[in-house]
Symmetry: C2
Subunit: 894 residues, 2 copies
C-alpha cells in the first residue's frame, strides 16, 4: 500500500526535512521543524505523488488516500484534543499547497476548515469571542467558495462592503469618504455577512455551503490540486523554467489564530536582512491579524524591532528559532509565524530570498561563523546573484537639491537598485511596451499573480500598498528588480491611466525614476550608475579564484574596455575585435570605407596607412591597460559590406568626401552584397584576398607592442586569424604575419614574444584541428559561428523556428546560442581540443563566443580542460564564480 499521508506533531514527524520532492518545501519544512522541537502546529502532508496520480487518474483520489486522510485526522484530533466537526470543541485546520519549489502567490490556501453553523457557535463559546468566530466563518465561506467553487472573490467582497455601508457606517456614524475598516464590523453584522455569504454560495453553486467538515476538507484538497494546473501557475513555471516536479503537496494543519486580540498577531521574518545581508532579525508583524492580511499588504505592519518592545518574550523565542533553524539549514531562512494569546507558532520556513548584496554578505559571514566552509560559500552564490549585483543605482553625483526637487513620494524600499521608465498602469501595457523595447515602470495599487508577466517586462515596480513581504516585493526580489511598495503617498486610477502624488498628476507615458534602495520615487529621469561592490563580493570572488582552474579573460576592444576588464578581474583579453575600432570616429569610418572602395592594392594601402596610427594608438592603450597580460587580437572579421553605407544619403556623403561618383559607391556596395554573408567573404578570407589589410593590422599591433615595451612594460600579443578552414590557409597567413612582425621586432632591438593562432569556428577547422595546430600556437573557439555552422543555424534567422525546437521535451533543452550545445558543438570542441593537443601539447585553448560568459557552458569548458574562457567585462565575475563552482563540483564528484 502506498503511503500517501505523512503526519507531524508533538515533536515527532513521519516525514523528513530532506523529502522536499515528496512532501513539498512546506511539508518538508514542517516535518523538519517538528523534529527539531520547534512550536509547530500539528498536521499532516498529502504527498506530491498524490497530485501526480490525481491528474493521471482524471482527477480522482488514489485508492487508500481517503482512509489515510481519515486516520491522520484521527491522530490530529488526538494530539489537539479537539474534534473535527465537534460543536463543543471543534478542530479547525488550514489547507495549503506546497510544491518542491517555491511558487509564491501562485497556489491556494484555505483557512478555518471545520467551521459550520454549529461549530461556529462552539468556537464562539470556547474562545468567548463570538465576533472572532463569525469573522473566521465568513472567511472560510468566501475562501472555500472562491477557491474550491470558482465563485468570483469580488462577489463576497462587495457584499461585505454593502453590510459595512448599510449597518456599520450608520452605527458608528463614520463620515462618507472615510473607509470603514474590517475590524469595525461587529458580531451582529458579521452574522449577517455569514448569512449573505451562504446565500451567494447557493446562488452561484446551486448547492448549500457544505456543513460536513470532511466535505470541506476534500473540496479544499481538490482546490489545491486544481491550483497546480491553473493557467497562472503553469505560466509561472514556464517563465521560471521550473520543470520535473510531480505536483504540489497539500498540508493540513491545525489552525492557530493571530486575530485573537492585542496579544496575538501574525508575521514573517528573515533570519538575516535580505537586502543587506546583515546578521539581524528582519521582518514584519501585524497585531491581531491572520496570515492573509500580511501577504495581501492591506494593512501596514510593524517592524520586527517594534515587536521586541511590545512582545519581548515572543521576540526572544523568534531569536531562538532563528538560531536553531540557521544551524539546521545552514542558510538564511524566511519564516512565517503566528502568535496566539502570546504563544508563538511557527507555520513555515524556507530558504529566504535575498538581494545579491545580501547573498554575498550572508555567504561570507556564514563562512566566517563556521556555519559553512569557504567552498560551500562559493557554491552558495548563483551567477544570477552576480548579474544582479551590477544593477544600477542613482548617480551619487546628482546634487541633493536636484533630487529633492524631483522627489515625488516615499514608499517602502522593497527591492534595491534603481530604475526609470514610462509609467504604465496595467500588466498588459507593461508587456506590450516592454516587448517593443520601451523602458516602463509598472504602477499598481497592489500586484497579484496575474500581473507577473507585466512585472517581468517592467524596469521597476511601484505599489501604493503592501509591505516588504507583499506579492510585489517577493516577486520583484526574486528578479532583483527595483521595487517600492506601500507607497501611500500615491493615488492610482488605473482606468483613467493617471496617478496623483503630493499634488502632482502624472499620466501614462510620463517618466519616473524609482530608487528601490531608499523607497523614493522621483519625477522625470534621474541619471543612474552601476553600484560599487561590497567587501563581501571581493572576499568571495577571491575565494572562488583560488578554487578555479580555468582562467578568465575579457572580450574587450578599446583601452577603456580593457581597463574595465582588469577591474572586473580579467586575466587577459581573449578577444579584441579590431574592426570595432573602425567605428569609433567619423574619420576612422571614412578611412575604412575608402579602403573598401579602393580598386588597387596601392590605393587600399594608402587608406590603410591612414588607419594605422589609430589602430596603433588603440593597441598601445590596450597593452598598457593589460600590463603584460596576454591580449588576443583578432584581425578583421566581418564581411566588408558591414562597413559601407547602404542609405543613398550616406553614400552621397561618402562619394563627395572621396571624390568619386555616388554611382561608383553604390555599385561597390551592391557588389559587396552576399546571399549568405555569414559564410561569405569575411574573416581571414579578406586578408587572403587583400594581404595589405593583414600587413597594416599586424604592423599596428607590433609597433604598439614595441612602444609599450620601450616604456619598460611587458606585452604579450597573440595575433588571431578568424574563420580559418584549412592548415594551408593558416600557413599562408602565419607566414605573412611573421614576415611583417619579425623585421619590426628585430629593428627595434627589443625582446618581444608574440603568438600566432586561430579561431576555431568553421567545422572543418575543428575537424582537422591536428593539422591546424601544427601551424597555430593557440586556438580560440568562436562558438557563435561554430554553433551556426555546426548546426546549420543562422542566428539572425533562427528566431522564427527555434521556438519550435527549444524547450522542455523539445529537440533542445536550451537555446544553443545562449548555452553551448554540449553534445554537438561541444563534442566537436572536445574533438578539436584533443586532436590539437595531440600535435602540439602546449597548445593554448580558449573560448571567446558569447558562451564564454554562460555558467553552464563554462562548466563544460572546465570539463574538457580548456585553458580559459573569455567574455564581456561585466560577465567576468560570473565566469570566475562559474569556473570555481565547476572545479568544486569536480572535486566533490571525485
Amino acid at each position: 500500500m502506498n503511503k500517501w499521508v505523512y503526519f507531524f506533531g508533538n515533536g515527532r514527524a513521519e516525514g523528513r526535512g530532506d523529502q522536499r520532492e515528496l512532501l513539498g518545501g512546506k511539508g518538508a519544512g514542517l516535518a523538519a521543524m517538528t523534529a527539531l522541537g520547534l512550536p509547530v502546529p500539528a498536521g499532516f502532508t498529502i504527498t506530491t505523488d498524490v497530485c501526480d496520480v490525481y491528474y493521471r487518474k482524471e482527477r480522482r483520489w488514489p485508492t487508500g488516500l481517503e482512509r489515510q486522510v481519515r486516520q491522520a485526522l484521527g491522530r490530529l484530533e488526538k494530539v489537539s484534543r479537539k474534534s473535527f466537526g465537534d460543536a463543543a470543541n471543534p478542530l479547525l485546520v488550514s489547507v495549503r499547497s506546497g510544491a518542491a519549489r517555491s511558487m509564491p502567490g501562485m497556489m491556494e490556501t484555505i483557512l478555518n476548515l471545520g467551521l459550520n453553523d454549529r461549530t461556529v457557535e462552539g468556537l464562539a463559546r470556547l474562545t468567548s469571542h463570538p465576533r472572532f468566530a463569525y469573522d473566521a466563518y465568513r472567511r472560510l465561506i468566501s475562501m472555500f467558495g472562491s477557491t474550491a467553487k470558482g465563485i468570483p472573490r469580488e462577489r463576497f467582497d462587495q457584499e461585505l462592503d454593502r453590510v459595512k455601508e448599510e449597518r456599520t457606517r450608520p452605527r458608528l456614524g463614520i463620515d462618507p469618504g472615510v473607509r470603514v475598516a474590517d475590524t469595525q464590523v461587529d458580531e451582529a453584522e458579521l452574522r449577517e455577512v455569514v448569512h449573505r455569504f451562504k446565500k451567494i454560495y447557493v446562488e452561484q453553486t446551486r448547492e448549500q455551503f457544505p456543513q460536513d467538515p470532511r466535505d470541506q476538507l476534500q473540496g479544499a484538497v481538490n482546490a489545491v490540486f486544481a491550483s497546480w494546473m491553473a493557467e497562472k501557475a503553469v505560466t509561472y513555471r514556464r517563465v521560471e523554467k521550473i520543470t520535473g516536479l510531480r505536483g504540489t503537496a497539500v498540508n493540513v494543519v491545525q489552525m492557530v489564530f493571530g486575530n485573537m486580540g492585542e496579544d496575538s498577531g501574525t508575521g514573517v521574518y528573515f533570519t538575516r536582512d535580505p537586502n543587506s545581508g546583515e546578521n539581524t532579525l528582519y521582518g514584519d508583524f501585524l497585531v491581531n491579524a491572520q496570515g492573509e492580511d500580511v501577504v495581501a499588504g492591506i494593512r501596514t505592519p510593524l517592524k520586527l524591532s517594534e515587536v521586541q518592545r511590545i512582545l519581548p518574550d515572543v521576540y526572544r523565542q523568534l531569536a531562538r528559532v532563528r538560531r536553531i533553524l540557521e544551524r539546521h539549514y545552514r542558510d538564511m531562512q524566511d519564516i512565517e509565524f503566528t502568535v496566539e494569546h502570546g504563544k508563538l507558532y511557527i507555520l513555515q520556513c524556507r530558504a529566504g530570498k535575498r538581494s545579491p548584496q545580501a547573498a554575498f554578505r550572508i555567504a561570507v559571514d556564514m563562512a566566517k561563523e563556521r556555519l559553512l566552509t569557504r567552498e560551500e560559500a562559493v557554491r552558495r552564490i548563483t551567477p544570477e546573484d552576480i548579474e544582479r549585483l551590477f544593477y544600477p543605482v542613482i548617480d551619487p553625483s546628482v546634487p541633493a537639491q536636484d533630487l529633492e526637487r524631483r522627489r515625488l513620494a516615499q514608499g517602502i524600499d522593497a527591492v534595491p537598485g534603481a530604475a526609470k521608465g514610462e509609467i504604465v498602469f496595467t500588466a498588459g501595457d507593461a508587456e506590450r511596451l516592454g516587448a517593443a523595447g520601451r523602458a516602463v515602470i509598472l504602477v499598481r495599487r497592489e500586484t497579484s499573480p496575474e500581473d507577473v508577466g507585466g512585472m517581468h517586462a517592467a524596469q521597476g515596480i511601484l505599489t501604493s500598498t503592501g509591505g516588504k513581504t507583499s506579492h510585489a516585493a517577493v516577486v520583484a526580489r526574486g528578479w532583483a528588480k527595483c521595487c517600492i511598495v506601500g507607497c501611500e503617498d500615491v493615488q492610482i486610477d488605473s482606468d483613467q491611466r493617471v496617478m496623483r502624488a503630493n499634488g502632482r498628476v502624472l499620466r501614462q507615458g510620463e517618466i519616473i525614476t524609482l530608487d528601490g534602495s531608499s523607497g523614493t520615487v522621483y519625477e522625470g529621469e534621474v541619471p543612474l550608475v552601476r553600484p560599487t561592490l561590497s567587501p563581501a563580493y571581493g572576499i568571495l570572488l577571491g575565494w572562488a579564484d583560488r578554487f578555479r582552474r580555468l582562467r578568465v579573460r575579457a572580450n574587450a576592444d578599446t583601452p577603456k574596455d580593457a581597463q574595465k576588464a582588469v577591474e572586473m578581474g580579467a586575466e587577459g583579453i581573449g578577444l579584441c575585435r579590431t574592426e570595432h575600432m573602425f567605428f569609433e570616429t567619423e574619420e576612422r569610418r571614412l578611412a575604412i570605407q575608402e579602403m573598401i572602395l579602393a580598386e588597387t592594392p596601392e590605393r587600399r594601402r594608402a587608406a590603410l596607412n591612414r588607419l594605422l596610427p589609430f589602430q596603433r594608438a588603440d593597441f598601445v592603450g590596450i597593452f598598457e591597460a593589460m600590463d603584460g597580460r596576454p591580449v588576443t587580437i583578432r584581425l578583421i572579421d566581418p564581411p566588408l559590406h558591414e562597413f559601407v553605407p547602404h542609405e543613398r544619403s550616406k553614400q552621397e556623403a561618402l562619394a563627395l568626401r572621396l571624390g568619386i561618383s555616388v554611382e561608383a559607391v553604390a555599385q561597390r556596395v551592391e557588389q559587396l552584397r552576399e546571399a549568405n554573408p555569414m559564410l561569405g567573404h569575411r574573416g581571414s578570407r579578406l586578408c587572403l584576398t587583400y594581404p595589405e589589410i593583414l600587413d597594416t593590422q599586424v604592423r599596428a599591433i607590433i609597433e604598439a607592442a614595441i612602444a609599450v615595451r620601450r616604456q619598460g612594460k611587458a606585452v604579450c600579443p597573440e595575433i588571431m586569424h578568424p574563420l580559418v578552414m584549412d592548415a594551408g590557409e593558416l600557413e599562408i597567413l602565419e607566414r605573412r604575419t611573421r614576415a611583417v612582425a619579425d623585421p619590426l621586432i628585430r629593428a627595434s632591438r627589443m625582446k618581444i614574444k608574440y603568438l600566432v593562432g586561430t579561431m576555431i569556428e568553421v567545422p572543418r577547422a575543428a575537424f582537422l584541428a591536428d593539422r591546424i595546430a601544427r601551424v597555430a600556437e593557440f586556438f580560440s573557439f568562436g562558438t557563435n559561428d561554430l554553433t551556426q555552422m555546426t548546426m546549420g543555424l543562422s542566428r539572425d534567422d533562427a528566431g522564427r523556428f527555434l521556438p519550435d525546437y527549444v524547450g522542455p521535451s523539445r529537440v533542445f533543452r536550451t537555446d544553443p546560442f545562449q548555452s553551448l550545445d554540449v553534445e554537438g558543438v561541444g563534442g566537436l570542441m572536445k574533438w578539436a581540443l584533443d586532436r590539437g593537443r595531440s600535435s602540439r601539447p602546449a597548445l593554448k585553448v580558449g573560448i571567446c563566443g558569447e558562451h564564454g560568459g554562460d555558467p553552464a557552458s563554462i562548466r563544460f569548458c572546465h570539463s574538457i580542460k580548456l585553458d580559459y574562457v573569455s567574455c564581456s567585462p561585466y560577465r567576468i565575475p560570473i565566469a570566475r564564480l562559474a569556473a570555481a563552482q565547476a572545479a568544486l563540483e569536480d572535486k566533490k564528484r571525485r
Copy 2:
C-alpha cells in the same frame, strides 16, 4: 657526374621509353622507337633536369652539360658520317622542346641548325639543290632570330614578301591580287632573302648571325628553355592544371628533309581514325615539304590513301610502323614522319587525341584484338569522353575565322555542349515561346527556383553572374543543358529586353549560339551537330558495370527524368526533389504559394490538399518508370521565400488570384526574407513548424506507392528528411511520417515496405551520426550543403574569393563544390559512415550532392564504402565508369 644528355641512333638508345619525366614525351618516344628498330634519325636529348637546374642557376648551364653535348654531337657526327660546320659534308640538326606532358603549340622548335654562309654552299653542292639549301638557310635565320633573339617574326615575313613583290612577281608576270607562293621564289631570290634576313638580324641584335654552329646550338637550347617560362606556356599549364613538371627536355636530332623533291615529303598519321575510331591508317601527307608546312596548313595535303598509290613502299612501311607502335604502346598513336628521297623517317610518336566516339571504339576494338584486357579498356576511357559524348557541339567543320568573327563574349563553361536560339530575358517568355516550339536561350543576371520552368523550356542558359555551382549551373547540369554562367562581358536590362556585350546590342528575339564547352557566346546561328552513341559505348559500359561495387542512382524529379535515368543505367533514384514538382505548372505554383501565405494550419492544409493529387500523380509516374528500383524522395527543402514572387507585378497577380490584398502578399514575402537563407527556415525545419506539409507529402508518396502496387508492380519508396541536425528532431519527423504512412498501408491491405532516412548535410548530424542512425534507416550525404557548412563557404558568394583559394600551390587543389574536399568534408563523411554503421550495421548510405557525378569524388565514395552515388541522369554513365575505375584501381593496388 650527372648524366645530362641521352644519345639515340643506329638502333640503340641510352634512354628508355618509360623515362618521360626525365626525357620528356618526345625524347622518351624517340628513345623507344630507336630501340624498337624504327627508322628514327639519330640525335640526343638534354634532360628536363637540365631545364630545372638552368632556372635554379639563374639561366646558366649546369657543370658538365657543355662537355656532354659536345660528346653527343661527336657521336652524332660519327653515326651520320657528317660533320657539324663542315662545309664539305655538313651535319644539320633540329632542336625541339619536349616536356613530360604535351603542350601543343606552346613551345619552340628551330630547324636546320648547322647552316652558315659556308655550309649552305656545301649543302647546295651535296644535294645538287642550291635553291633548297638557301631556302633552309633563310628558314634557320628567321627561326633562330625570332626564337632565340626575340626579333618579331613579321620583320622576316614582310621582307620575304617584299622580295616576292620586287622580283618574283615581275619575273613570272603574276597578276596583282594573285598570291605569290613560297615555292615560286627561285634560288637567286632566296640568296637575296638570306642577305636581307642577315641585315635584319644585325639591325635588331647589333651582332652578326652566328656562323659557328656550336653557338647556334647553344642559343637554340637556351631559346627552348626560355619558352618553358614564357607567359603563354605558364598560363597554359595553369589553365590545364599541369603541375609537378621539372621543365622541358631539348631534343637535338639530325635533320631529314621532306622538301627534296617529288620523292620526298612530310606527314602526320594516326594509327586509327581519331574521329570514328575505325581501325585504319588515317593522316595527311604533303609532297616536297617540311614539317612546318603541314602544321601551318598552307597547302592542302594528300590523304594517306593517296600515298598508297604514289609511294606504295612508304605506305607499307607506315603500316609496319603502326603495327609495331600499337603493339608497343597498346594505344592509338599520332606519328610524325618525313620521307627523304623515298626513305621513311619517323620523327615523333605520341598517344593520339581522339573524339569520344573513337575513344570507345578503340578501347573496345583493342580489347577484342587482345591488345588490351577488358579492365584496361575500361580504364582507358575518361569521364570527359563520356561527358562529351552526349552534348551537341559546334560543327567542327565551321572555319575558325567564321567563329572568331561571331564571338560575342566569354563566360564560365558551366555545362558543356552547345545550343542556339532566340534571346529571351524572362522565364515566362521562355516558357511561352518554348511551348510554341521556338528555340530560346534564357539570358538572366542570375536564376532562382522561380525560373526553373523557363530554364527547362530554354535550349541553353546564359547568366552574367555566378559560378559553376550557381543555381543556373546546378539546375542546367541536372538536365545536361548547355549553360554559361558568370559572363561578365554581358550587361542585361531585363526591363528593356536588351543585352549589351563588347559594344554590341542584342534585343529579345535575336539569335545567339552558346558553346558551353568553352564558355563562348556567339552572335547569330552557328551550326551544331549531335553525336550518336556507338555500339562500343554500350559494350564498354557493360564491362564497367561488371567491375564496379558502387551502385549508381539518379537525381530525378519527374517521371520523364526517371525514364531518362533508367535509360542511362540508373539503378534507382537517389534524390527526388519534391519541390521541383511545384514549379511545373502555373496551377501548382499557385497552390504552393497559397500554402505559404496561409495563416492557419487549416488554410495551409486546404492548399496542400490541392497539391496532393499532382504530387501523387508524379510519384505514380516515377514509381512506374523505376519499376521496383528504390526511389529516395526528399521532402520539401528550400526556404519558403524561394517559392513566392518577389516582383510587384507577380505579387499583384497572386493577390488577385487568392483574393487577398497585395500588401498582405508583400508583407508575407518580406517576412520570409532571411539574412542567411541557407542556414534558415528550410529543410525539415519547415515540417517541424508546419507538420501538415509533411503529412501531405508522405500521403502523396504512400498513396502513389499503393496505386502502383495495385498494378502488380514492385515499389520501393525511401522517404528522406533533409537538413536534420539532431536525432531527437529526426525522431519527431520519423514518428509523424510513420503515423501517416502506416494506416494508409494497413487500409490498402497491400504489402509495401518503405524506409525512413535522412540527409546528412549539417555537420552536427554527421558528427552525431551514431545517434542519428538509431532512427534513420538510411543516410544520404547532401554534400553541397555539407560542404557549405563544414567549410563555412556560401556557394553563391564564394565566387569572389575562391579563385584566391583554388589552384596549384594554393589552399585547395580543386574547387570543393566540384570535387569533394576529401580531407575535410570527406573525412567527416567517413566518420559519419563509420559511426552510423556502428549503431546500425545495415545502414544504407549514399551521396546525392553534385559530387555524386564527379569522378574524383566517386573514387572517394568507393574508397569509404558508400553503397551508392546519385547524380543527374546525364552523368550516370560517368558515374558507372568512375565507379568501375575506382574498383579496378583498388584491385590493382592489392
